[in-house]
Amino acid sequence: MRFKESTGRPVVSLANAESIGRISRFVIDVPTHRVSAVQLDKTKDKHQQFLTWETISAFGEDAITVADISKIVEGDEAQKLGADKHHQVIGKRALSTFGDELGTITDVEFDPETGLLQSILYDSGEARGDHLKGIGSYAVILGVEAN
């Protein structure tokens, strides 16, 4: 599954079948190469916007399901930092660990079961998820050689 197609997808409570939010941003944990949380918008309380990956019941094609609204939390510092604009990847410059520009990040493919990143797609190629070395305000660092 990919970031772009999943963004905007509704989050539904299994307890009362209500839509309780919408996927807005992904929080990536770089050392483990996985999605650690998602940030939502359209939540009932705008101070409660985060879903930790483990609390998601299913990340489906059409909706994300959670047990109930209590799974949507305020989010810790790490999650808030990971969701800020400096740590978003799509549209950002992709730089190899050798210091060569690879292009611009176009999308990220992840496993909807585990949250593990499968590939980082950029406009001239793709890198394996575990080749992600860093996400910063200047660039996303990928451990691949320039073409």
Binding site: F98, E101, G136, S137, Y138, A139, I141, E145
Partner: protein, 196 residues
Amino acid sequence: MTRLMRTSELEKRPVVTMGGEDIAQIKDVVYAAGGGQVGGFTLAGRGIFAGPLKSSLAWSNVSSLGSDAVMITDEGVLESTETVLDSSAATGGSGGNVLGSQVLTDGGTDLGKVVDVIIEVSQGGARQCDVVGYEIEASAALGTSGTNVLIPLPDTIAASGEHLIVPASAKDFVGHDLAGFGAAIEQFRAKLEADR
């Protein structure tokens, strides 16, 4: 894999951490080993209004020097400018600024004035960064007066800041672009080795 670069192209190149933050940009190249190697870089802040930084980057702390960025592990590898300048000087002088110096052969022929310095960088895990040639504004002796040509350098050179002395055979290995220049340097150095 190695590649050649003009040091003039390094100016303003961003210094980026493996975390993806651009924390500085190159201001000047610091030469070591009598001008035969790159010892490090002095730095400036990023952005139009940012001035020079108090910290510098020693070559030994560069993870990789690429076409678009200088990669370092993190901000912690920067050292005080004094430390970087002193350790480069300790290896036999900084070689000063060679730009504008006159290149003389050991036979006393003026080949021209240095306009740029060519370095050889190996991709990843480079343990030294050699100065392998100069781009010079050619004198009449090279038959292409007024044009810029590349001349290969031996491993070690004598430089005074005013003159640089190269073996006379250097003029037989002159290059016109970086693409073929790597081979010319190898041939030139092999010939020097053979003549010894």
